[in-house]
Amino acid sequence: MQKHLLAAGLLTIAMPALAETPVLTVLTYDSFTTEWGPGPAIETAFEATCACDLRFVPAGDGAALLARVQLEGAASDADLVLGLDTSLTAAASATQLFAPHGKTPKTDLPVDFADPNFLPFDWGWFAFVHDKTKLPEPPKSFEALAASDVTIVIQDPRSSTPGLGLLLWVKAAYGDRAPEIWQGLADNIVTVTPGWSEAYGLFLEGEADMVLSYTTSPAYHLIAEGDDTKAAALFDEGHYMQIEVAGKLASSDQPDLADQFLDFMLTDAFQSVIPQTNWMYPVITPAAGLPEGFDAFRPAKSLLLSPAEAQAVRDAALAEWQAALAR
């Protein structure tokens, strides 16, 4: 009887302790959390160190993330947001929903990047990807592309982050000449898709010679499919970068755990998962080096507008894009 009472007493003590395993909720884009994405490996690795339950909450694609954060506002259950890029961070900071991280990490990014609210976790260069066997001599610049009869398929900047990246790429490379470049490109564009996957699918089906994607896309085909026919065309103007970042929400009820996750994000355990699950460059080169194919297409010049510049030129660049393409 005594034993039973003791056991019951221990159970009642143990139960709340079990229930109090702290939960860290990370809002991110869909493809991060899938079984073939970085989510599962990162969850296992972080939970082994944190004595917590790490939960990824998918919120649609990258472009939907910020809208989701704004919708939830200060009532959000999330502690961290992972997957915004630098074209969105200015707007994200303006919501005042994010808290400063107070860290100054050293990264291997090819450009200087520091933001009080956001830390980078991976990055890539936008590029036009093509099939070497069908297009052996790709154009070497936007101007050469516009002058050629090479066909491209791109994404809509209003619904897709690569589409927005291309808008900023042309703006960063050509400034006031951007409308002229877009007018030149108009007859090369087969169509404009709502997201990256539709565009890439059309390209693989042979609907266009090139597709707007990343310099690391050919590495996917090389590593996962043993197919070395895909290549990224290097442009003389330089290539615009997408830096993906994570930030802590001011409303988090686990701020210390959130800080711990941000530190973990820049360790090898997190960074080494990125290349072959997210197919982007890690911000700190893993101890084991980069996988095969990640060094095949390295632009000589990187372009990136600061978050404030990106925010400032965005609406005008979109209007120019619409005017040039809406013949």
């Binding site: 939960r55 909450v57 649609g60 704004q70 707007a91 209003r158 564009i189 898709t193 990256w196 996957s197």
Partner: protein
Amino acid sequence: MASRARPLSLIAPALAALLLALVLAPLAAVGWRGAGMSLGPADWAAVRFSVTQALLSAAISTLLAIPVARALARRRFPGRSLLVTLMGAPFLLPAVVAVLGLLAVFGRSGLLNQALVAMGLPPISIYGLHGVVLAHVFLNLPLATRMILHGWLSIPSERIRLAQSLGFGPSETFRHLEWPMLREVLPGVALVILVICLTSFAVVLTLGGGPAATTIELAIYQAVRFEFDLGRAAGLAGVQLAVGVIAVLAAWTLTRPAGFGAGLDRGLPLSAPTGWRRWGDGMALTTSALFLALPLAAVLWRGLPGLTDLPASVLPAAARSVAVALASALLATTAALTLALAAARHGSPLMEGAATLPLATSGLVLGTGLFLLIQPFAPPMSLALPVTILVNTALSLPYLYRILLPEARALQADYGRLADSLALHGWSRLRWLVLPRLARPLGFGAGIAAALSMGDLGVIALFAGERQATLPLVVSQLTGAYRMEAAASAALILVTLSFVLFWACDAGGRRAAA
């Protein structure tokens, strides 16, 4: 006696009010969070383009469906039943899958252009307004055909026999039998296609060719995601609803009951004219069968290679989708039958609106609004599947209602008074009169609802938690991670499951009616 009929007469208006609330409350919630609703010139250009492409798509789908449905109604040939069943398939394809299937035939390196180039002709481009309309006709022609075919099959055999004994030729048959039937059925068919095309998103954007093809739904995406301007999003969604309301009123004004009177249900096909009309029917059938079958074959062909290499998450996602589809189909069928029976007694534009407008809502605004409404009370993630079932029910109900309404009207006109005088009410009326006589459209409608709820991404993307993905969501996640082959296979599984659900309901209905 009158009091016993009352429960139904109260349930239907309550149901209509509930549907309207489901449409309007999320819109209001989104508008409430926004500030002001001013629309700019670009927004009105989007409205114009949306309406233009929807009108063209609805008109062409409906007009082309008439000869196909007539040929199916008056000809008997081997494979006819297979063709009628196959008619359900394109409609069930997720938009992106349908687009890839069409591109295999009409795309830059598709069959058609390969044939044109081989003959020394210049290739054609599918991208632009014509491509958008082509895709919408591909998706909606089969639905229109099936709905009009139901109309043809509902002409009582007594009238057909009378026409034959009076020596009616094809033109008299058309004037006295077919045209009255078409006057009753066509406005509803065109309405439902117009409204569904109005909100079409991925098809229009992918095939539209550029920002000139901006629809209202894309403008809403821009407002929510690019500018977080919820007021403008609500304004645009309101305009989209208003266009839907105008379409409902127009269809309401144009619809005339055919008034054939009751028959004894002896099956009798219309007499099949010979001569050039025989060739005409053959052409209509062959062309439409090829137009529908070739892209479907491409979907099958693309999906087969990756079937052995699918990720583990496909199976539970498929199970979740089937459960959602069955629940939505049951709810939608019950609700649509209630509404259609009530509308057959006392139709009103309000009832029509409640049963049509869910289609005209913006998916993004509906999802965002429900999210805002639910969030104060419960974590939205915990309600992902119930919300998906609710939304799928509301979105498939308009099709069901449209399919059931003409036959519910005929039932009321032909048997309503007899049943009333026999005091046949409530469950026994349903059991002995309604269900047996409406079995065919009920089966077809339930099949459409189940299949639509399988394929619809709807609002799940906003609500789904880590382990709640449905099959369409898995397909979109696979395409988002370079895995196009696995995505094509998962899509093939999705389409096959939808088709099996559709076929089971449809064949069940046809068997019960026979």
